[in-house]
Symmetry: C2
Subunit: 405 residues, 2 copies
Amino acid sequence: MKSGLHFLIAARECEIGDLEQLALTGELVGLIGQLVHALQRERGLSNLFLGSRGTRFAQARDQQLLQCDAAALELRRHFDAMDTQGTAVRNGARLFGRIATVLQALDALPALRQEIAVQTVTPPAATAAFVRLVAGLLQVVFEAADSATDPQISRALVALFNFMQGKEFAGQERAFGGACFAEGHLESGRAQQWLELIESQERCFRIALDFSDAAIQAAWRGAVDTRTQAELERLRRIGCTLRADGLLDPELAQVWYDCCTQRIDAMRAVEELLAAQLLQLCASRIAKARDELRNHEAIRDALVRTASAADTGEPVPNYGPHLERSIIDLVQEQARRLQQMADELDTVRASLNERKIIERAKGLLMATRKLSEADAHKMLRQTAMNQNRKLLDVAQSVLALSDYL
Amino acid sequence: MKSGLHFLIAARECEIGDLEQLALTGELVGLIGQLVHALQRERGLSNLFLGSRGTRFAQARDQQLLQCDAAALELRRHFDAMDTQGTAVRNGARLFGRIATVLQALDALPALRQEIAVQTVTPPAATAAFVRLVAGLLQVVFEAADSATDPQISRALVALFNFMQGKEFAGQERAFGGACFAEGHLESGRAQQWLELIESQERCFRIALDFSDAAIQAAWRGAVDTRTQAELERLRRIGCTLRADGLLDPELAQVWYDCCTQRIDAMRAVEELLAAQLLQLCASRIAKARDELRNHEAIRDALVRTASAADTGEPVPNYGPHLERSIIDLVQEQARRLQQMADELDTVRASLNERKIIERAKGLLMATRKLSEADAHKMLRQTAMNQNRKLLDVAQSVLALSDYL
């Protein structure tokens, strides 16, 4: 009959399997970060190109397409190498479903690029298509964070996901502002949209830094030099402050793009640090779990030796009661540790759950009120501001009152 | 390169793997229910035996030990047959850890029984040991419910878990009241404990029925005949209403035990219905997922035929655009379905999370105030009653203020 020790060892092995899975996911997340970064640039350049009615930025855009293709190819190679046969992948049903969506969006990219090249698409429509593609990629990262069973790794994934999401809002701001400058004027209502992109970034970075260690926090503080930051704020002020005639200097488009790009590239460096930290964390957790597994196995082997010595009538080594005590302690310690891990995990995941609740409330508003995602978000935010409540609280109220909507 | 369709199929396969895992877990839960039922009887009879100072119930207890051993053997056989090698078991780290704890507690059972036989243990201490063992078994069911990824199955598991937990409180009441009657008197303070066991039962059954369908609700309403129910309430009144002299009629011990047992056996029948429903649900969900998988595979095969026809220069069948459209629809429908399932799952799991939060708050109070579990629970409940708040709210406040404790 299998003993408690047997299941203790099996539990450890499963834990190691989960951690190895997470390490693979960490690599996947790194490749996604790379592709997202390239797509963010392509989106920005596409908007500059469209905003200038095709008169500028064509060459820079063409070069960027090649970079995107290279990053997409690397990601596709990783997808190809994934073990989709077995059911070894934790959370496979949802992860693979998200990947299917991403692949479909990537397949549709050439058609979008063609439309941009011949300018049969507006900057907002082109931006929206890129935003959807990037959102699909980030959703893969979210699923990874959501399936992590180790609280430390879950923390790292929550930090990384929020950082990537914040960087994406920064990328959207670059594309949005780029189109405005390149068009040479700001349509009314756009200033508000611009401000929301700034706020969304800041919210995400706040969460990301809350879940990061001092090294990352320091890297983030030092990432963007003060001159770039000041230049960005100056351009934001020019862009967002609506002049009576609504005109903007088109020459600022390039300045804006370069300034934003410098900042976003600095973010990418921090993101790479976060991703490297994640992989390192996986490796050290795996090494530790393997150590503990070896300890358990040593105890099991000693027990087997004791038993076989007893069978053959040899003098039984005298660590019987000591060993038994060890096993009882081990099982109890493991139970405590599992409970502690589960508790920590719940705490870390609370931030993911908040996001889920807000997303669900948005989805509900989109369905019942036939709103776009942006409008649903705006409606929630507006209610929160009017009632001086947190966005999460408003989202929860919306879900609680779903029958009335 | 792997296509979106490839990952769609892989996602389905993972889903089926998860469902098959859940079906196995369903069997495990059934065996646990059987052992718990036997242990609950053994606990009740042990308390009657101890309460009567060994003068009565010895034979009934001896017979019950055999039934327990048979149920334990069946469960151990299931454990032995479990695939602990691969990392195929979802949530293996936690599930196996819980099983290790259960096996250890089962190994300690003979020593406890010996103490009961020679009456070197008090009824409360014996009860506490059985309560811990049953709690460990129910924790395995909880892990199963917690790891379910299908909202319908998660619902069924939440219902079953809460029902089993409610039945366990009923079993604790039987053992508790049995000892009181057999001892022939009620110590002060015990009436409150008795009332809490009644309330805890009712809370669990309320949740269980909320998550059950009409058939189960009807079965539960018809399970306990009104005569038994009336008799139970009469005995509860006699037991809980402290007479000035605190004396109870020891002859009522057998009446009490039989009445409770009739009720608990009726619960067991409903529990078996719930367990059967769970298995049926798993089977039908698996059949449905397999159907859908076959559809996906048919589309994939049609695509392969189209491609190879094109390669060999044969006339290409003309369902190309139609097929491509189907795949895009499939991926989008799958994405919607996954999102919907995730949302439903969150809703169902909210009730599990409530339990986790209350357990964590209790754990915190136990650690910081050096309280027993029962006292920590009482403290939370008392605060909730005094402040007219929900237990969950109080537990959340406790966790939020953990730094102050």
